[in-house]
Symmetry: C2
Subunit: 405 residues, 2 copies
């Protein structure tokens, strides 16, 4: 490990962030300037934040900490607390779901309810972190291509920090996702296409050099926000690791982040070597990761004509595809595609058994869980965590979203 | 104080709940059976839960407690933990709002963001408590008249507990409030009228004797859930009491509850004798409490033709009107009515300064805050807490809701 300077020399900080390391080639990058992806020729892979684990960090330190993702302060990349833009994201409930479990004869089922986050989705974690860090490094305007929730979260944190937000979103995303961006004062551009088209348009935009691009895994810190889901699941289970985590996978940052958190927690001595089997859930109408996994590949391909009611899963190509597939294999996990009809049925079952009105992406995890039980991949006695990534309130009416409006 | 038996004899409990006391005549009622309001002839006033404060309860006990309203376990009325129906309600963020404060030259402005609750509103607190306690006492079906959010919250907790929910709601309530009740499997009846008409229809309903009525303050425990907002504000401010709390007042349970919490915390030695000035905010189109306060009365009258975009404030008569007016006077507080136009402007300002998409009821508190500053009632240097009671996501489009659909 190179001896990099601490983040922002002179700033007092609890953070043990030292530098960035390329997930592809291992090249190292400094932490005190803006970074995107690996700039080595032919690489271009995502950068991962590295921390100094040499000094012990007893978990009892957490006891008096704030009830948000910022409680894991040492393992987060922002230097000076003054730059933290927080709306209270994280430490969402991990809810034992006994009535739902009983439907399938299960005994230990939990739902991690990310709808309790600001802007009612898990995207708040990543964008609280990314916008805080970007602001610390002097950024004044951000841009994002989004399938829905990330646009609202970027807009909210930029509003709180006084930054400009530029959001590019498919025109046929449910209305609430557009409304929230406008409410937060962002500039919203609707695109006749998918999130991948939004990304392409940003690349060609004449203003792009004035904007910091916070696309999934094209900057290193959204991942650091998302990984806190992994810390919280372990802490909320009394530092036990569940047997299986089922995760709805669009860009996949959360899945990669939870895995990173488990490795970090083991280095800290907070958990042992046990790992959950990680399951990526996609929609039948957009399943690039599932196809690559089933074909035994290490890379996914662009999925044409992506269409599903779960707008957050309409991601035909995930920049972190290699990392996602690596986590699925290392964890002895799997990948499952479910239909829109199964998703809608799962929304109903969760609402009527548990009193949670989940996003269709979250419901997809329950649909997948039932499939995996039937297939015998999952045992009824195993401890399973479903990730509900957002709130059903944002998807008024749940109309199919693949057609043009 | 009569020597009542502890709640549910034999049940192990942390709760220090001893009995109920009538807020009007002081008559005492037992805690181990279902209670509604005072049954003494000519009284009929709300009952308040009384706790045993003789044994010390150091606040450091809270440190390891769950991050929800259930952390104040000793001061809550449910006996056996097994009956708690929790979706993680409470311990919502108290957000310093510096950019919003700067708009008005203020220095210490906070927003208590209740949209982070289950079902995205503060109603989750009261109904988590009421349904948990009702279930503990054997109830299998509940009924509620609602202006919107309470119906969804009742439906959610009944779903989680396996109870029937019967919801009566004005037909012109925003669509999302109806959708969530149906999602949670409640029976929803739309009423051509206001919440007061819903209440009247329930009184005449042939099934009413099979349902437990959880109308605001017609059972004693929603108040006990709502009071936890007061505990949290004090704890989150490091056990300091703010100078002013501005509260959007429909049924007013939260305002009464916060005041009750302050008295209890003083008995516990957790806070001193300082009290905030309590402000009730209503809409110009429905301001029974404001009118009564301005006329120096101790009782409010029914407000005819109630109409406002803030559907939660369309409560033409609050059952707790006497208690609300008493709190306003005891606290040297006041009551303010704001227009729908001011509410909409406040929604925008909060969204664009702070990244919070608040409910119109929550926005009304900021509109009132600006009025009180202009009037000189509020000093720019005072520490002020605004209560945002719910999420703007549930009011898609913010259409005026007074007309029929």
């Amino acid at each position: 490990m190179k001896a990099f300077a601490p983040i922002l020399p002179g700033a007092k900080t609890l953070s043990r962030f030292t530098h960035l390391s390329c997930s592809g080639c291992g090249a190292e990058y400094e932490s005190d300037r803006l970074q995107t992806v690996c700039t080595r020729e032919g690489c271009g892979q995502p950068l991962l934040a590295v921390y100094d684990f040499r000094k012990p960090l007893p978990k009892r330190k957490l006891r008096r900490r704030v009830s948000s993702m910022w409680r894991y302060r040492e393992l987060l990349p922002v230097g000076d607390d003054a730059h933290i833009l927080s709306l209270g994201e994280g430490m969402t409930p991990l809810l034992p779901s006994m009535r739902l479990a009983a439907l399938a004869g299960m005994q230990q089922l939990y739902i991690k309810d990310e709808s309790a986050n600001p802007t009612a989705s898990f995207k708040a974690r990543g964008l609280s972190m990314a916008v805080s860090k970007a602001r610390e490094l002097g950024v004044q305007a951000c841009v994002i291509p989004t399938a829905g929730n990330a646009g609202g979260a970027l807009s909210a944190y930029c509003a709180r920090g006084g930054l400009e937000a530029h959001v590019f979103m498919p025109a046929d995303t449910p209305e609430m996702f557009k409304l929230e961006c406008r409410q937060f004062g962002a500039s919203l551009q609707l695109v006749d296409g998918l999130i991948s088209d939004c990304g392409r348009i940003i690349q060609q935009h004449p203003q792009r050099h004035n904007w910091f691009d916070v696309s999934t895994l094209k900057e290193p810190y959204r991942l650091e926000g998302k990984k806190t889901m992994g810390y919280e699941i372990a802490e909320q289970l009394g530092w036990e690791v569940p047997d299986v985590i089922i995760y709805p996978t669009g860009g996949g940052t959360g899945l990669i982040g939870i895995w990173k958190a488990l490795e970090e927690m083991q280095q800290l001595g907070w958990v042992g070597s046990k790992r959950p089997r990680m399951v990526a859930v996609q929609a039948e109408g957009c399943q690039p990761i599932v196809q690559a996994f089933e074909q035994g590949k290490n890379e996914a391909e662009f999925f044409p004509h992506a269409a599903t009611i779960a707008s957050g899963l309409r991601v035909p190509f995930a920049y972190g595809h290699r990392l996602i597939l690596k986590v699925l294999r290392e964890s002895n996990g799997t990948a499952v595609a479910v239909s829109d009809a199964e998703i809608l049925e799962a929304v109903q079952e969760i609402a009527q058994c548990e009193g949670l009105f989940v996003a269709p992406e979250g419901a997809a995890t329950w649909a997948a869980c039932k499939r995996l039980l039937k297939a015998g991949w999952l045992e009824e006695s195993e401890k399973v965590v479903l990730l509900n990534t957002g709130s059903g309130y944002k998807y008024a009416g749940l109309q199919p979203t693949s057609g043009k409006q």
